[in-house]
């Protein structure tokens, strides 16, 4: 006797169960396919949105870069030309390497009546804020010397300090920025040099002597009541003078990743003082580049050298 299992209750129940499981499995596969399609679409949207953002950032970056390049042209327009400075002195050089396209270090030169005025301006910070302060300082120096006819370097810095402090703090917000500066007045006839500094010294080299003349220990626009001392320098024969921002002394590098330091810079200049200024500039540039090696440049670099 054979049993017809085809339509037995057990068989029917098993078939129903399998059909249910198949339905669930089919639904699960459909859902996974749906998840895959939805997620792919979602990722494509994110990618497209990222590409749009990237394009916007690139456009903005280009605008900023173009704008900085234009600002660089403006800043270069007020820099003294080498010819202009060379005509005033026996020999000279200006080494300026900004950290960014524009910066807060600026060389200043002007001829007024019986004197030349030359300065190394070192604004706090670098980049755009530094450039704005240095442009303000440049304009104020012009005003003090050419319009107010103030020629004593200490008085010039005292006036610059008062005016810049007032300009930066006249509005609603107090601004802590300012600048350090070395300023020399060179009398055309007597060749006498008068110096005043705000935290930046003057290196004076003459035959057989080397002196780092200290500046007043106050920055410009730090305190409206600061006054700045004038130091008169007289030397026999050829005298060489160097003014520099803190960018080179503060540059990290060398075998132990240390700061270059003022001592090393003074020692370097003393070693090469007999060379012409162009050669000196080349040696300083090469030495600093080699010292810096793979370290990033942390601040603007400025050195001015002149010989009378």
């Amino acid at each position: 006797m054979t049993t017809d299992l085809k339509n037995s209750p057990v068989q029917t129940e098993t078939a129903d169960q399998m059909r249910k499981e198949l339905t669930v499995l089919k639904e699960r596969i459909n859902s996974q396919q749906d998840m895959l399609e939805r997620t792919t679409g979602f990722m494509s949207q994110i990618q497209s949105s990222l590409e749009q953002s990237k394009q916007k950032v690139e456009e903005k970056n280009k605008e900023t870069f173009d704008s900085m390049r234009y600002a660089e042209r403006l800043q270069q327009a007020i820099l003294p030309s080498c010819d202009e400075v060379n005509k005033a002195f026996i020999d000279s050089f200006i080494y300026l390497r900004q950290c960014e396209i524009i910066g807060g270090d600026l060389a200043y030169f002007i001829e007024a009546e019986d004197s030349y005025f030359i300065a190394a301006i070192d604004c706090t910070g670098h980049g755009i804020p530094g450039a704005m302060i240095s442009m303000m300082a440049h304009s104020l120096l012009d005003e003090i010397i050419m319009q107010h006819l103030v020629f004593d370097p200490g008085h010039i810095l005292t006036e610059l300090n008062r005016m810049l402090f007032s300009a930066l703090n006249g509005g609603k917000k107090e601004i802590k920025d300012g600048l350090d500066i070395s300023l020399c007045r060179v009398h055309k006839d007597t060749k006498k040099v008068s110096f005043s500094g705000a935290r930046r010294p003057l290196l004076h080299l003459s035959i057989g002597a080397s002196e780092l003349i200290k500046a007043t220990r106050a920055s410009i626009a730090e305190n409206p009541d600061s006054t700045f001392e004038t130091i008169d320098i007289e030397g026999e024969g050829k005298n060489k003078f160097y003014m520099f921002s803190d960018g080179i002394p503060d540059q990290f590098g060398g075998p132990k990743g240390k700061k270059f330091g003022t001592k090393r810079l003074v020692s370097l200049i003393s070693e090469i003082k007999m060379l012409n200024m162009k050669k000196q500039s080349e040696i300083i540039t090469n030495t600093i580049t080699s010292w810096q090696a793979n370290e990033p440049q942390i601040d603007d670099n400025l050195i001015i050298g002149f010989c009378i």
Binding site: V24, S31, Q32, D34, M35, R38, T39, F42, M43
Partner: protein, 150 residues
């Protein structure tokens, strides 16, 4: 004993309801309800069944925190999720439940699918009250309990 069983045993949860695809448990003292998925996929009718029961559990015991443990899931049905977000969660919000915790499977692809699904719901239902609901992703029931108690 799987991780879920171990966790709910340690924290003394009581089972309220279960079917072949999920179960819901609660702790009246902590005012926490938990729904655990038991399979890799929950068909829509079963999903709604479990969550309607979860709703009853939340109402009966005045639960304030809800943990959805999806660790077993490997697929979800988007219309079920829409119902869960747009109807069920908002019904629960009316009962005072706004703090939800989720435990996802460890797979990155699944997490990305959840993100895509949520983004679609948020886009399609801008008027929903989803922004009034706090959703926190955790790695275990214990982590959710620790956050609730902190």
């Amino acid at each position: 004993m799987n991780k879920f069983k171990e966790e709910i045993t340690n924290t003394k949860f009581t089972e309220f309801y279960s079917n072949n695809f999920g179960r819901c448990v609660y702790n009246k003292t902590l005012r926490i309800g938990v729904c655990e998925s038991l399979d890799q996929y929950i068909p829509v009718d079963q999903f709604m069944d479990i969550f309607l029961q979860c709703g009853e559990m939340i109402k009966n015991y005045d639960l304030k925190y809800f943990i959805f443990d999806k660790r077993a899931l490997r697929a979800f049905h988007q219309p079920s999720m829409e119902w869960y977000y747009i109807e069920w969660k908002q019904d629960m919000l009316k009962l005072g439940l706004k703090d939800h915790f989720k435990i996802l499977p460890n797979e990155d692809w699944f997490k990305k699918c959840v993100e895509a699904g949520r983004a679609e719901i948020a886009r399609d239902y801008p008027e929903s009250l989803l922004d009034q609901i706090n959703v926190t992703y955790v790695n275990s029931i214990q982590e959710a309990i620790d956050q609730i108690q902190s």
